[in-house]
Subunit: 468 residues, 2 copies
């Protein structure tokens, strides 16, 4: 396969098949099509390929071959990993602990666990998206905690999590840690300390259909769902041998050059982190600037709908993703950005791949200000501020109900300068994303969010004081 | 891909990638690698390919595109289909009904359902492996039955099941039928009448990693496991677009010639059904001779271990499978053969594919008698019969404890002719497979199984009277 276009800045959403993966898969079609659990000659050839792939991947991940299973996707591996760990620890309790910024698959598994009688605890994060380790460990030490989950690095803002420390402390408490190794496995190192970890082959140019699940010897683990003998009871259905062979070939090829490539991509990301706030007014770069994934950076732009910017950038040849979903059906902005207390509006996630060079990044930086300006220019006018005579402290009211994020913040930004310093403006808004965004805007602008209260009909009244 | 060797007689265990599937998959790597749920250009191209594949498969299966979902394997599709139907019918009750000869994935799902508080009813089959429809319908009408499962045709003996009649009768009772369309979808027709049906692309030369789940409009269905928005909540993880495109291409190519090919294969199977009992002494052909899968036939040979015969045939260039597992770790013979009351020893399943011709079948028929004789010659000698003075009616005892199937039947066959007509022999055996095999042998030989009783230490005493 060719590299994706050099404007493809969305590697974390998946990559095209790595050339060595395509080659390996075609070769494996001849000898790896049969179900390796059978007794025929074709099955034996298939089993040999599978064993060799498992051995190679185990070496790469520094685990024993029988600790490694192949599942149908990264999501399957992650959910199996954590729910299987819960099932194996039923005697210890039914509480699942995870951070507030895990992959949505963890939240889905947690919901399912709750519906089936389990309990869930969530540990908060700081402003960079890093879990508060003392809170995480404190929660893990409570009675009934069976299993904890933590990602190696956040998939939306790139911040690395303290998995080594968490695994060590939790081991002392007797609570196993399941690590979503995810993006960090491509350029980083496997989470050696974790009793269970998982990964998705799509992140390194492997084919769809392959997730990796490592369950270390001595870890309690039981199949959470109906099972067969496939992959020692850790998967279901005959293993997809050609896809597994391809995924492992791509893993080795990608990790062979990971240090130099990681440094190169980190340099490109540094350039983006530095330039975007200079080139685009009212923009914040999110996540830890140093201890982070080398190839991923996220920023949020005020007064902007993320999906509109995404579409505008796509039109100009750049594919990115967005943690804003103000215009999507769900009306729910990224749970990661909300947990960080970050601005959710106008969010853009960039994740680079080996086919992206310095020139592509410069081209992106040249295009971005225009794209942002074009989208901002499309924002509709704000509602009029009305003065109310009343008993409330904030007599100046801006009615942004029915207007979706980022419009309430835009309305606020337009109206506040007309007030006297020290005066208060009440913004009425019914888009749930406004809560985080108004707070983030006040922080960014040095204004004061005095308070907020229910205004009926699903709306909220936000009281903002002009400080400067 | 090439056809597998012309001695590959195990099509029901999976086929190599169909040439059109390989071609389609390679083409789809360029435009179908991205997660189709995203908003980038690559994602849109991927979504277009996925939509087209869904449309084409839906036409082939005579369903609406939004009734069809793609899952990571046939086993996933089947378990999701039935457990999702149970979840959607929770108000009606918690009883799952299935036939005694379903795929092991149904038994695994039923076990899981039971562990999670559900109940399970199992309907018996006749000597050909066909479900007793009156029993099936009677059980379905009992209070609390939420869902029933029936395969279109049995995967071990080929007998077709009365799915149309079952679906109609169960619709009258308000109980949805989930059909494992499996092998019958390759040469037969989709089970139109069933509210839910599933299939595995590996059966028609599609790649591993693709199962099909059809849930008809108006059918109650809820995700049984943690889910995301993938495939309208019916699957998990981004769809594997290249594999889906390939699976659908192979489905259409295979079904395009299904009538002529089905007739041709049925003729080859007729030839095997007719010749095997003539060429190999003490052999029975199983399953319905007429209303069956065109390409599949099963027989059992007395005094023979199935896996040993499978190995011997493999050595002579023929790949088959076996429902006997007398020498495997589990010691459990095929639940299908047991439910039919058929001889489980020396079982061979043959399933043909388009690359097999008349000459291959004749070559197989020429090789088989020698292969059977060679394996039978390896059987160890029998224990001595001992006369006991005692109060039991059968004073002649043959101790076959510690000897695995097929040895207890072989011991019986060797010892009985030495008795007078009308006399009784007590066979002590502790291999659970002996129960079915001794009963089947007595039926085949016209001898009388007088009774059986617990003989302590996990052994059973079988009383056999010599009738002729």
């Amino acid at each position: 396969m060719d590299q994706p276009g050099s404007g493809y800045f969305d590697a974390a959403a998946g990559l095209p098949l790595h050339p060595v993966a395509a080659e390996a898969m075609q070769a494996a079609w001849a000898d790896g099509w049969a179900d390796p659990s059978r007794l025929t000659g074709a099955a034996r050839r298939s089993a040999i390929l599978l064993d060799a792939a498992r051995q190679a991947a185990a070496e790469e991940l520094d685990v024993r071959p029988d600790e490694l299973s192949f599942l149908p996707s990264g999501v399957h591996a992650l959910q199996h990993g954590l729910l299987g760990s819960l099932a194996g620890r039923r005697r210890a309790g039914t509480v699942l602990l995870h951070s507030a910024v895990e992959h949505s698959a963890v939240f889905a598994a947690a919901d399912w666990h709750r519906v089936h009688g389990g309990e869930v605890e969530v540990a908060g994060v700081d402003g960079t998206g890093r879990v508060r380790i003392s809170e995480f460990v404190e929660l893990a030490g409570r009675p009934g905690v069976a299993t904890a989950v933590l990602q190696a690095a956040n998939h939306e803002v790139g911040t690395r999590q303290p998995v080594a420390e968490a695994a060590e402390q939790l081991a002392g408490l007797g609570v196993p840690l399941v690590v979503d190794a995810g993006h960090d496995l491509v350029y980083g190192r496997p989470p050696d300390e974790a009793p269970v970890f998982t990964a998705d082959a799509r992140l390194w140019g492997g084919p769809a259909g392959v997730g990796l699940l490592v369950v270390r010897h001595g870890t309690r683990w039981r199949p959470p769902f109906p099972t067969d003998e496939s992959e020692s009871g850790r998967s279901l259905g005959p293993p997809n041998v050609p896809a597994i062979v391809a995924a492992v070939a791509a893993l080795r090829a990608t990790r062979a050059g990971r240090e130099a490539e990681g440094r190169r991509l980190a340099g490109l990301v540094d350039r983006i982190r530095e330039q975007v706030p200079l080139a685009v007014p009212d923009t914040v770069v999110l996540g830890d600037p140093v201890d982070r994934l080398p190839n991923l950076v996220t920023f949020s732009c005020l007064y902007l709908d993320g999906e509109a910017l995404l579409t505008e950038l796509d039109r100009r040849g750049f594919a990115v993703s967005s943690g804003s979903s103000c215009t999507s059906d769900t009306l729910t902005p990224s749970h990661v950005l909300v947990a960080m207390g970050a601005l959710t509006s106008g969010n853009v996630r960039i994740s680079l791949h080996p086919g992206v060079g310095q020139a592509d990044v410069e081209r992106f930086l040249a295009v971005l200000p225009d794209a942002v300006a074009a989208v901002r220019a499309q924002a509709p006018g704000s509602p009029a501020v009305r003065e109310t005579e009343g008993r409330t402290e904030a007599a100046t009211v801006l009615d942004s109900r029915g207007r979706r994020c980022p419009l309430p913040v835009l309305d606020l930004a337009r109206a506040l300068p007309d007030l006297a310093i020290g005066a208060e403006l009440t913004v009425l808004a019914d888009d749930p994303a406004a809560a985080g965004d108004i707070a983030a805007w006040c922080r960014m602008r040095g204004q004061q969010l005095v308070g907020q209260q229910d205004a009926g009909d699903g709306g909220t009244a936000y009281r903002v004081r002009r400080v400067r």
